[in-house]
Structure formats: C-alpha cells, structure tokens
C-alpha cells in the first residue's frame, strides 16, 4: 500500500470511498429490510448484535476502497468482467426461461355455469343431488330429476337415505320422455352397497345397475319413499356412468375440472368442449378459471349453439368480475356473464388456454428472469440470516485466497490448500472435542495454533520436495491433498463418529472448543474468525510487502534467476512461502470446524481451495485485494444458491449459470496472470549454458498493450 498519495490516487480514493458508501448503503438497506421499516434507525438497532453487523459492513466498505486503490485501472477491468459475466448469465437465465409463459397454457382449471333459473335438466353423469321428503317448508313426496342421455349409455342410478337412521326406505324408477318406465328398483343388494358405499349404506335404499339407455333423449329419475309416505327425511339420488354425459354441465351444479397440457403427457389435453341443456330465456353465466392461483393457466371460453354458431366468447374477465365472482382469481380467467339463452336446446362451451402471443412470451420470460436474477443479485442481502451465510462463506474463501496468494506470489503453483484445510479442521476439531473442560480462552488459541502448525508442516513438505528434489509442486500438492482428505475421512468414520450415529460426523464440539460468536442471528453466528481474518490479512500484506522474506518471495515470483543472482536463498524461501500459506489454509480449516459446522463433518470442502485460487488470481495475488474478491466470489455463490431456491429454474441450470459466470471471471484472472508471467518470462531464458546468447534489449518487444 502506498501511503504517499498523488493527485490521481486521491481521485481513486474518492471513487473508492464513493463506491464503498454505495455498497454499504445497499447492504444495510437490504439486509435490515429497511424498505418495510417505519423507522429505519429502530429497524437497525432492533437487530441483534447490530453494532457488530455494522462493523462488518464497514469492513466490507474498506475492502472496496482497497480494491480500487490497489488495482487502479485493473479494478475497473475486473468489475467490467464481472458485469459482463453477469449480463451473460442474465441472457442464459432468460434462455432457460424461454418457456416461462407456458404456465399460461398449462394447469388445472374448472368450468361452471351459474343461473337464477331452473335448469331443464337436473343431473348429468357422475353427479348426485339431494332433496327432502315432507319438509314443512316445501312438502314434496317424490323427487323428479331429469337428465340427458344418449342411446347405449350404461347408467347406474342410486336413490338413498342421507341418514340411514332416518328409516327412509327408497324406491326409484327411470322414465323415458313419454313417461314409460325403462327400469325400476326398490332394493340395494350387498354388492351394490359394497361398490357404492359412499352413497348406499342399507338394503332399503334402491339401486339400478348398468341400465342401457334405449335412445337419445331426456330421461327422468323418479325417486319415492317406499311404505311410509309421511316420513320426513332427506334423500339423495346419484347418476353414475362411465360414458360422457350428453349434458355435461348443469346450472349451479358441480364444476367440471381438467388439466390442460399436463407435463409428461404424450397426448396432453389442449382444448375441451362441454355441453349443457339450457332453457329458452334462461340467463346464464359461464365461468372458466384456473383451479389454483399459483398455476395461472390463462383460459378463453366460447359458447356455441347446437348448430355450431358462436353465441358469445370471452378471453379475460375484468376486474369487477374478478371481484364479484369468488371462483375467479385473476383477469386471466374468463367469464360470459348473464347471457340469455335463445332457445331450449343443447349448448356447447368451448374452453381452451388462450394462445400465447410473442409479447406475452417475452414479457413472461423477462419477468421470470428478472425475478431469478433479483434473487441472484440481491438474495444474499435480503435477510440478515442470508447476509450471515454470505459472510461466513466469505471468511473461508478470503482465508484460502490469502493462502494461495502467498504461494502464487512466489510463482509456486501449490494447490495444497485443500489438504491443509482438512488437516487444520481435523486437528482443531479433535482438540476442541477432546478437551472440552479446558477454559475457552486457552483451548481455542491452542486449537488454532495447532491447526496453523499442521498446515505449516503440510505446506513445508511439498516445499521441501520442490526445493531439494525439484518435484513439481502442482503434482505433489495434489497428491498430498488426497492423502490428507482420505486420512481425515478415515479418522472421522473410524474414530470420531459416535457408534449410534446415522451418518459419519463427529459429536458437537463443546462450547469451550468453539470460536466465540460475535454476531448471532437466529442461532446462526459469525465468530471471532472475523478478527482472525483481519489479522491474517494484515499479516499477509506485511509479510509480502514489508518484510525481507516477502521481498524474497516477490523477487522469486518476478524472476527466480534474478533472486538467485542477488543472493536470495531461493530454496528456503520457496519452502517458507509454501509452509506459511499452509498455515493460513490450516486456520481456514479451523474456522470451518470450530466456527461454521461446530462438528467435524465427513466432507467439509469440495474444492474450496480451488475457489480460493480464483479469489487469489482475481486479486492479482494482492493480500489487500483478496478480501474484496473473496466477498465477491462468496456473494455470487450465495446468490446462486438463493436463485436455485427461489426462482423457477432447476438446480442444474443454476449450476450452469453460476459456472459460466465464474468461468468468465476466472478466465479474466487467468489471462491477466499469464500475461504477467509472459512478461516475466521474457527475461529469463532457457536452462542451456549459452546465456550470452540472450542478452537482449528488453524494451523492444518487452511490454506492450
């Protein structure tokens, strides 16, 4: 960090502070949900540990300023890349949402007819109706119910007492248009009772099974009490058939229901017609509406007469109608209101999803995408709880980013952070688990120190292999990772999992072994790891920029032959760089064990260390920039998770979008990294002895662009 500010640095500082203020403002506004608050200040101070939360927000602001100050022009480039990547991700999200409007042509719906008039028919197939004999208000001694039947339809007619205890004995007859009896019944045998138990419960009820209708026409069901005609009792009549009813709908009767374009159907229902018998002059209202509000199929309804002439149609209800009819849930539902039927005849109601036009499709796609992206971009801030998740992830990633930045600074491609993380977690966890009665103030430092030490050693090892045996650090660290992870898993499953546990994980680490919480929101806490992190950032920066060892690391990274020539002990420096990096990664492991999971899980990281690589590369291996890039990366990760939960996109697609965004950002980091390497390489030639052959004038062809 350069403390002597020039004019352009002042400008940068101002830009950085402005950006930081913006970022902090957004975070506070969103995470405290100030939009809904009456009094903003109360909303903030009402939150638990709000001072500490604001402190962390301030630190985020500092990371923004550092990012701008340290990277200058490069910071704009990174922001631009992130912006472009997000934009690209937006288009991808839109692409995967191109079918968003399909919900308007898909889903359950119902159709009903309402009318104040009596229906010419009272029943249709698969319906029942009820009445009461000798009710003082409306004394009837028989029930007559008409229905429209087609020749050959097989119907079953049941007449029954609603309350079996009432003692009502039923008989039933089916009459044709001329009044002639087609069939009759007085009993309901056991088989009928068994099959139609919903309706028929006693043999005094009456049932006609599988009567084949002789002709098309209007039939009447006549239901009467048998024996005691004075009995006051409720009865019911059911008309059942496997055939489609010629009169599908009845005024004020039950609604019919179906599903348009059901997903997975090979031959989905695309449109449907219902008939009903209407009387001349009857005023009817036809309703077609989505069954569930969250499956918002958009319907249109058309009324035809028998000859197929269109009598009325409607695509969308208006707001008053939605108000007036409880069935209607939105204006997407359709209604033909108060239509006066011209004749007594059969009518046809045609219902289908309203065809999608392009603008609806685009609107919907855009809506969905914006919704998904809103979750992606602002999700991690939408609640304090999510903000906490973001912060905890960021702490891990920043620690790992620092670890990687230290080795990468020396141009050592150690990817050992993963293994060091596991071992750090293991050692810290085991210490926390085993010495629960040691006071926290002693136990936690010991656990942390041990985690750092084991990480240090696990980094020293590949360092030594590289320095003395010239073993490629990439290969050796990857192998050491496998060893560390397998060893960890072995210890967890064989030693630490309690015998009665259902899955491999240790017991909870006792309180004394855990990092003390600094912020707790709904049992979710951020621990003193945040202070450890701040210390680590300062440490890494000091180490690299302000110590002789850091100088050695930097010179080795810039040109190892130059370092050698200048008298730097390159072997020692490489080993130390890898070991110190390991110690930091070990602490990241301790943070996971003692601060995040509070127990040792079987899997604590799937390639977290590799994400640390991206964080470090994006930060140009600058410890002061790593906090920002770590926060950014953790934010994108958290956002993707929330998008997956909240938006209408499948988890896989979210992964793809996240991967593409991160890939683009990584590509930027890698390109810059290799460009710089190339510049460095220009200097150092090959290994051959004829070095004089390479005395070059470097400005020529040196750095351009």
């Amino acid at each position: 960090m350069n403390l002597h500010f020039s004019a352009s640095q002042w400008r940068l500082l101002i830009a950085g502070v402005a950006l930081a203020a913006l970022v902090i403002g957004l975070i506070v506004y969103q995470s405290f949900e100030l939009a809904e608050a009456d009094n903003m200040w109360d909303a903030i101070t009402g939150a638990p540990d709000w001072q500490n939360i604001l402190f962390v927000d301030a630190l985020i602001g500092v990371s923004v300023v550092l990012f701008i100050l340290e990277l200058r022009g490069d910071s704009m480039r990174i922001l631009l890349t992130v912006g472009m990547a997000l934009l690209f991700g937006f288009f991808m999200t839109a692409f995967f949402n191109l079918d968003a409007a399909d919900k308007f042509v898909r889903g359950n719906f119902e159709v009903r007819i309402l009318s104040d008039d009596d229906s010419p028919v009272d029943l249709s197939y698969e319906q029942d109706i009820s009445g009461a004999f000798n009710n003082p208000d409306d004394p009837i001694t028989e029930g007559r119910y008409s229905f429209l039947g087609a020749e050959g339809d097989k119907v079953t007619i049941l007449a029954y007492a609603i309350e079996p205890e009432s003692g009502l004995d039923m008989q039933v007859a089916l009459l044709d248009e001329s009044g002639a009896v087609v069939a009759e019944a007085t009993e309901a045998d056991r088989r009928v009772q068994k099959q139609y138990g919903d309706y028929v419960q006693s043999e005094t009820d009456a049932a006609m099974r599988d009567v084949v209708l002789p002709a098309d026409g209007l039939y009447t069901i006549l239901a009467q009490p048998e024996g005691d005609t004075e009995l006051q009792a409720e009865f019911g009549v059911a008309l059942l058939s496997d055939h489609d009813s010629a009169a599908g709908l009845i005024y004020n009767g039950q609604a019919v229901e179906d599903i348009f374009n059901r997903e997975g159907d090979t031959d989905p229902l695309k449109q449907v017609d219902y008939t009903f018998i209407g009387g001349e002059g009857d005023t009817v209202t036809l309703l077609a509406y989505a069954k569930r509000a969250n499956v918002p199929v958009d319907l249109e309804v058309i009324l035809y007469d028998e000859a197929g002439n269109k009598l009325a149609e409607n695509f969308d209800a208006n707001d008053e109608q939605v108000e007036a009819y409880e069935e209607l849930k939105s204006t997407r539902d359709s209604i033909i209101e108060s239509f006066v039927l011209p004749a007594t005849a059969s009518y046809r109601i045609h219902v289908q999803p309203q065809p999608l036009d392009l603008s609806t499709k685009l609107d919907e796609t855009l809506d969905e995408t914006v919704h998904a992206y809103d979750a992606f971009l602002l999700g991690p801030l939408s609640k304090l709880n999510r903000w906490m998740d973001w912060q905890r992830d960021a702490i891990t990633l920043i620690m790992l980013g620092l670890a990687i930045a230290i080795v990468f600074r020396a141009e050592q491609f150690s990817l050992g952070a993963e293994g060091q993380l596991y071992l750090g977690a293991l050692v810290a966890g085991v210490i926390g688990l085993s010495f629960g009665d040691v006071p926290r103030a002693l136990l936690v430092p010991i656990a942390l120190f041990s985690a750092a030490t084991v990480g240090f050693l696990w980094g020293l090892l590949p360092g030594a292999l590289k320095a003395y045996l010239d073993a490629n650090e990439l290969v050796s660290t990857l192998m050491l990772n496998t060893i560390a992870v397998k060893f960890y898993e072995m210890v967890i499953t064989d030693q630490l999992t309690p015998p009665d546990a259902g899955f491999s994980a240790s017991d909870w680490i006792p309180e004394n072994g855990l990092l003390a919480p600094v912020i707790t929101v709904e049992q979710n806490s951020i621990t003193i790891a945040i202070y450890i992190l701040i210390a680590l950032i300062l440490f890494s920066w000091l180490l690299i920029q302000r110590t002789p060892l850091g100088y050695e690391i930097r010179m080795i990274g810039a040109n190892i032959k130059f370092a050698d020539y200048g008298g730097v002990n390159t072997k020692r420096t490489i080993m130390l760089a890898m070991a110190i990096s390991g110690a930091v990664a070990g602490l990241a492991g301790a943070h996971l064990a003692l601060g995040v999971h509070r127990k040792l899980l079987l899997t604590i990281s799937i390639g977290l260390a590799f994400e640390g690589v991206v964080v470090a590369l994006l930060a140009r291996n600058n410890p002061l920039v790593v906090p920002f890039t770590g926060l950014l990366y953790a934010y994108l990760r958290a956002g993707a998770q929330i998008m997956e939960r909240e938006a209408n996109i499948s988890a896989e697609v979210v992964r793809i979008i996240q991967a593409v965004v991160i890939l683009l950002i990584t590509a930027e980091a890698l390109v810059t990294f290799f460009q710089q390497r190339q510049v460095r390489r220009r200097g150092s030639g090959g290994e051959s002895g004829d070095k004089q052959d390479r005395s070059l004038t470097p400005a020529e062809g040196g750095v351009h662009g």
């Binding site: 010179m555 810039a558 130059f562 150092s684 051959s688 002895g689 040196g702």
Partner: protein
Amino acid sequence: MALIEATHIVKIYPNGVLANDQVYLSVEKGEIHALVGENGAGKSTLMKILYGLEHPTSGEIRLRDQLVEIHNPQVAIDMGIGMVHQNFMLVDSFTIAENIALGRESTLAAGLTLDRQKAIRDTQELSKQYGLFVEPNARVEAVPVGMRQRVEILKALYRGAEILILDEPTAVLTPRETQDLFTAVRNLVDEGKTVIFITHKLREVMEISDRVTVMRDARTVGTVNTAATNERELARMMVGREVFMQVDKPPVERGTPVLDVRGLTYVNEVGRTLLRDASFTCYEAEILGIAGVEGNGQTELVEVLTGLRTASAGEAYVDGTSVLGHGPRKIREAHVAHIPEDRLTNGVALTASIGDNLIVDRYYHPPVTQMGILDLNTIRANSADMIEQFNILAPSGDLPVASLSGGNMQKVVVARELSSDPRLLIAAQPTRGVDIGAIEYIHQQLVDQRTNGLAILLISADLQEVMKLSDRIMVMYEGEIVAVLPNTPDLTEDKLGLYMLGAERQPTAEMEQNR
C-alpha cells in the same frame, strides 16, 4: 518518393511517458537507414509502431505514399515490413527450419502439418540467396546468438519482408559476427530490400548506413547523409553536447591481491570442460580485462566466481577468504559485485519496481531492513538517488523495470552494483546496449572506482573497450588462460587477436610473471 514515411508520430504510454513526440522518419527504398539516439529516446517505440506492436497516440504512416494503419504485426508483415527484436521470438525447442517455416503460417494447424522437408529446402535456398548461413536442422536453443539473429532475419525475409527493421542487432554480436551481419545486410540491399538499423555504436553507423536519423528526448533531431557527417557530429546531435569518449585514467599503483583464483575448473553436465585450471589474481586498484572470442569460457568463469555455477575443482579467495561453494550470498557478503552479461536473464526482475531491483543485494540488513521490516523510505530514497546519479530515464522508482528502455535497464544494473561498495567488481559486458553518453559515464565510473582501490574483472565482447579500460589483459581460449599481458601502449589488437584465436600461447614463465 519515400518508401515509408512516418509523420507527427506521438506515443504516450499508459503510464504517461511521452516516448515519441511529433516524430518524423522517412526511409527511401533500397537504403540502409540508421536510427540513433540516447537510451530512452524512443527508437524502439517508433519501430514498434511501424511494426504494429504499439499504436501511436496520433500521427500518420505512409507506405509508398498510401496512408496505412498498422494494427498488428500481421498487418505489418502483409505490408512487407519485418522486424528483428533484440529478444528473439523463436521457439527454442524447434529446429531452425521449423522456426522459419512456422513464421509464415503462424497457426497451430500449420505446426502440425508442417512439411519438414520443404521447410529445410526453403531455408537452405533462402540462406544461400542472402548469404545468411544457418544450419536448418539445428535446434534454436543449441546455436550461437549470431545464428539466431540470422534466423530471425531469414524468418522475416521468408514472410516477404521488403523493409527490415533491426533493433540493436550488434549489441550482442562479436566484432566478427558484426562484420558478417554487415555483409548480409549489404546483400539484402543489393537485392532491393530496405533496412532500418538501430545501434549505439557510431562506428557502425558510419560503416554501414546511407543516411542517419537522430532522435533525442522523444523527438527527431534530423536526418543526415552519412557521407556528410562524422561520429563526433552525430554524438553531438544525439546528446546535445560534445562527447569525447575518452576516459580520464590516471596511473595508480596497484595494491594487495583482492581476488585470488587457483586451478579453477568447470565441467558441465555433459562432461565438457569449459574452464580449465584457471589461476590468476586481481589486485586492488586494478582493472583486469579478459579478452577472448565469446564462448571460450568467460561466461563460465564469471558464473563460477559469482556463485551461479558450482566449480568442479579449484579455489577462489576474496581478501583471503575462500568464497566458493556457498552460493551468491556468501560471495556478495565478501563485497563482490557483479554486472551480469545478460541483464534480462538475471540482472533485473522486469515486473518488479525499479526500487526493488536496486536492493536485491542489500534488502535484508540496515538501512533497508530495520527490525525485520523493509523501510520503504530508504528504498525510495535509494532509487531516487540512483536514478539521478546514473541518469536513468524513469519518472519514478515505483515503476516496473519493464517500462524502461533497454539501455536504462542496464543502467539500473550498473547503478546497483557500483553502489554496493564493493571490493571486487566482476563486470561482464557492462555497457551492452547503453548509449554513448552512458558508456562514457560508466567507463569513467569504473576507472574512478579502480583509482579509489576497487579491483575490477572486466569481460567484454568489445575488444576496444577492454583495451581502453584495462590495466592488464588476460586472454582466454577454449577455457584456458593463454596469456596475461600488461596493457601497454604497444599492445595491439592484432597481437591480442593471435592469442584469442589460439594461434599463439604465452610461455608459462612469462605468464607466471604477469599473473
């Protein structure tokens, strides 16, 4: 009509450096046009603009009176402009023929489907046509620098270059190789090509060029016919003052032995003895020059003495303490400074700042490191001091060395090594690539320090430099010291040449006496 003409070229680098300011350059067809100027005057920048590697901030380029835009080197190549950089851009592990053929079809697919037989034939043909001898089947990494340069030139010609830009081609060449190059360049011109030639050696300008353009402080001072000028006038145009190129070298009595080398032998990994039983002494207040054709063990001698290679046998003492076998740190702590022959390999770290480059030998102790912490103020003060003292053209010590011109990088190295308060300075090619003004300064520095008691071991491909500065001259041939001679006025280049080419060898007794 000018073949290529650049007018009002302005180039401002992203860091704000104004490298070209209203530059004008006009080159006629078929001429050899020299471009000279001090370090950082903007020569390379201008050439990079013509070759499409850099884009001018403003200005126009006309090729055969046509206004052109040269977006990238491919465009330049298509227009018939070729450039040979100082740091060659060859694929080291490929053969020369492959490198040349790859130049034309610079795609990966071309690399896979390369017709090797045809490549070899083409290379041989081209090589014969222009008198540029190369071995088509040798791998680039295994051939000497002079041949690499010819490969670069052939590569450009193979791609159809009509205008050939050579940026400081002779800086790395031995006098012999330089003469070969000049012959080839004349051939090229006879074939109708045009050559633009950058050098800091005015002798070469006088010898080879038809016209000279002089640059100073990012501007063109003017273009003159070579026949109508002379070295002194050119020097004056470049520097803006009289340059004498004479060093003021008072005689001093040499002191006690500082460096004592006994039986030093170096055998490389494949068993070749590159340095055989070298024994000599370098005294306080003495410049001991090493003469020899490049590749006769000088490099190995220097690298063994500075700890970059491990001796196979023998000893070296600095002020009586044995220094070998413990790496460069120990040697540096014995107050040995080292100007390496190739600044880019190990003399500088390009991406590191100038300030950091200036402390690599002293970063770990006070005043740079105090109580375990680097003192940035000391580092800054040190770099500001060096920039001032050695006239390094750099706006600030915080900038990376990569943004310096070639000569200024060399000055960074020289500044660091001379300022380390050494007892012994091992200076290999100390003035490679620096301009005449800086050569004058560096030479004077070397002599002054020797007068004040410094022992200097000077290695240079430039025999005149050795003869001008040295008190004694040691000649190496095939890894052996074949003569040690006091640098008396009667010592001639011809006499040295006999030893250098192995035609003669000094009698042992005489050598012992001069040792």
